[in-house]
């Protein structure tokens, strides 16, 4: 067990994977200086400019070229800087990368990790704050991961690099400095959720940084005599339906919480799935997400878009009729 931050954890995973496999390389803007959040610090010095590649500001080419290089046998790690800018490479990701293997009848593979930091950070306004994980879950061909802890950002990054499918890897911009113990021998199976806390009264399903807030909420609830189970999905495709269904069967109550806009968010998929399975609930379902508005620059307005610990606590209590 080593103590490290969320950003150090994924950096270590990348560094180890690059050491172990010569075909793994990183590509994106400003990587030689570590990229915006220090995710690549030191890697160019260690592996050289040909394996930690500084690119022009050409998101479409970064994504498209990485794909071409993946098709001929390399394993690129693609840095999009802010998930918002990745929208400049949507055709490349959705029409090309996600579909090639199928369209070409299995002739090609795209073993790529596509890193798109998501989420509210601080006064970054509408073009630097989005969380669009539900988009990618809707696209067949893609694996979608949302690590929320240093341990997961280590183990899931390792799993993502090892995966032969294109993986949309969504780190959260607000927790680069989050510290935690990391066991580098721990392997995470893609698609297995993490039960961050056990409980009997209500199930809280979440992912990314909101999972951390959900754990906090569960602690508050515990202080009020309510036992909440927190499931951090970690992977949104494939996702751990079974753990969610089992938990809801046990608790009979469900809160789903995420940072993205609620309307059309992946929370809808979770709630709809539970509804379809006909689980008998003992209280109303609660789904928390951002209102269908935009992230403003002014901090007080920005805060209006946040799902907070308090909101999760309140929602959990509502499912219990409290």
């Amino acid at each position: 067990m080593v103590k490290m931050t969320y950003v150090e954890a994924s950096r270590l995973a990348v560094q180890e994977a690059m050491t172990a496999d010569e075909t793994v390389w990183c590509v994106g803007e400003d990587l030689g200086r570590g990229s915006v959040f220090g995710q690549y610090l030191g890697l160019q010095a260690e592996f050289g400019k040909d394996r930690v590649v500084d690119t022009p500001i050409s998101e479409a080419a970064i994504m498209g070229a990485a794909f071409g290089a993946a098709m001929v046998g390399t394993r690129p790690i693609v840095e999009m800087r802010f998930s918002d800018f990745a929208l400049c490479a949507t055709d490349e990701l959705v029409n090309q990368i996600a579909k090639a293997r199928f369209m070409f009848g299995g002739q090609s593979r795209a073993p790529m990790v596509i890193r798109k930091p998501i989420g509210l950070w601080r006064s970054s306004a509408a073009q630097h704050s989005q969380s669009l994980e539900s988009w990618y879950v809707h696209i067949p061909g893609l694996v979608v991961l949302c690590p929320s802890t240093p341990q997961d950002n280590y183990s899931m990054m390792k799993a993502a690099i090892a995966c032969d499918d294109p993986v949309v890897y969504l780190e959260h911009k607000n927790i680069w400095g989050l510290e935690g113990e990391v066991d580098t021998s721990l392997e995470v199976e893609i698609g297995a959720a993490s039960r961050r806390r056990e409980g009997d009264d209500v199930t809280i399903v979440s992912w990314s940084n909101t999972a951390n807030l959900s754990v906090e909420a569960a602690e508050t609830l515990a202080g009020q005599g309510i036992s909440a189970e927190v499931i951090d999905l970690r992977a949104l495709w494939p996702w751990d339906k079974q753990m969610v269904l089992d938990s809801v069967r046990k608790t009979g109550r469900l809160v789903v919480a995420h940072e993205a806009v609620a309307v059309g968010g992946f929370g809808a998929e979770v709630v709809a799935t539970v509804a379809e399975h006909g689980e008998a609930l003992k209280g109303p379902v609660r789904r928390l997400g951002a209102p269908r508005s935009l992230v403003a620059y002014a901090p007080n307005l920005e805060d209006k878009m946040r799902v907070t610990v308090d909101m999760i606590v309140t929602a959990a209590k509502e499912t219990l009729g409290k």
Binding site: T23, W25, D50, R51, V53, T55, P56, S58, A60, A61, M63, G64, A65, A66, F67, G68, A69, A70, M71, V72, G73, T74, D91, E92, N95, Q96, A100, R101, F102, M103, F104, G105, G106, Q107, S108, P140, G141, L142, V143, C163, D164, D165, P166, I190, G191, W237, P238
Partner: protein, 332 residues
């Protein structure tokens, strides 16, 4: 007759390949229109065969090719099996993409053909990346990417060519310019002196060639390929040609100025021009006729065989999507 630097054998090979491409596409059109066996759109390259034939003579199997929605000719010339291709157009088992891609996504990775693309211009960055991958892996083959004149107005043209330029990649970009972007005359929507100037402004050496002259295409592309194999940087080739048909096999092309197509076909059909080259070299008309008939016969058989092949098994609808979270395990 142009200075060729080719012997009769090479010149003859060019004609054979062009005849085979044309015969393939003529039969594809028959399959679509007469037989109603091709349900999706096909984009014939009839009239544009010189580029495919001329360039591919210089590529080895391990070299990589990417193309467009109008890619049958390139794929065949790169060495793909026409029966697998025709099966693909008919959506059948044994199609080169298992019947899942169709004409617009024709690909044969076994011969280094990494795909046509249904999105105009999208392969430009992907091809640059294939060359980048080759460089990272320390391999010595080269990449050729062929796209249309319309693609030069899409962002990936700038981003992909700049990429190749910056990373000094072993790639030849070819603009196979048939002068139309679907139903629009490309010159009417394209600013500046032309695509070669655009490529030069991005740092590439650019060459312009008569894209209806298979001999000329073979010659200049041979020189370029030699430079690439010698470690030279990325290059650009602008080959001007003409699309004899409409945009798709369904399109009569009625928007073209009265007489334009007839005139171009009469004056510049690359097959007719190559026949003239061979006649001038001393080959007999009978030999030319035989080349034609053989190609036609080959593709007639190909179509018959493809039509006799079954559709893919239904399970193929869920195969080859992804390993983890595959719809074969979990479809909803």
């Amino acid at each position: 007759m142009p200075e060729t630097g080719h012997n009769t054998q090479n010149a003859r090979q060019l004609l054979v390949m062009m005849e085979r491409i044309r015969a393939f596409e003529e039969h594809a059109i028959l399959a679509a229109e007469r037989d109603k066996l091709v349900l999706g759109a096909i984009h014939p390259s009839i009239g544009q065969e010189a580029c495919a034939a001329g360039v591919m003579t210089h590529l080895k199997r391990a070299d990589i090719l990417l193309s467009t929605h109008r890619g049958h000719g390139h794929t065949l010339a790169k060495g793909a099996d026409p029966l697998a291709m025709m099966r693909e157009l008919l959506g059948r088992t044994g199609g080169c993409c298992g019947g899942k891609g169709g004409s617009m996504h024709i690909a044969d990775f076994g011969v280094g053909m990494l795909g046509a693309n249904g999105v105009v211009g999208a392969n430009i960055t992907i091809a640059a990346g294939a060359a980048h991958g080759i460089k990272i892996l320390g391999q010595d083959h080269i990449v050729v990417d062929i796209f249309g004149d319309g693609a030069a107005n899409r962002g990936p043209f700038l981003e992909g060519i700049n990429w190749a330029s910056v990373f000094d990649l072993p790639i030849l970009f070819i603009c196979e310019d048939n002068q139309y972007s679907a139903t629009t005359r490309t010159s009417s929507v394209t600013g500046g002196p032309g695509v070669a100037a655009r490529a030069e402004a991005l740092g590439l050496r650019a060459t312009v060639v008569d894209g209806n002259d298979a001999e000329a295409v073979a010659q200049v592309s041979g020189e370029i390929v030699a430079r690439l194999r010698g470690g030279g940087g990325p290059e650009f080739l602008h080959a001007v040609t003409y699309r004899h048909t409409g945009h798709t096999s369904f399109d009569p092309g009625a928007y073209r100025p009265e007489g334009e197509a007839d005139k171009e076909i009469a004056a510049n059909d690359p097959i007719a021009r190559q026949r003239a080259v061979l006649l001038a070299m001393g080959l007999g008309q009978d030999v030319l006729d035989a080349i034609h008939s053989e190609a036609q016969a080959e593709m007639e058989q190909v179509l018959a065989d493809a039509a006799a092949t079954p559709f893919p098994p239904d399970e193929a609808a869920f195969a080859d999507v992804q390993d983890i979270g595959s719809p074969m395990q979990e479809a909803y």
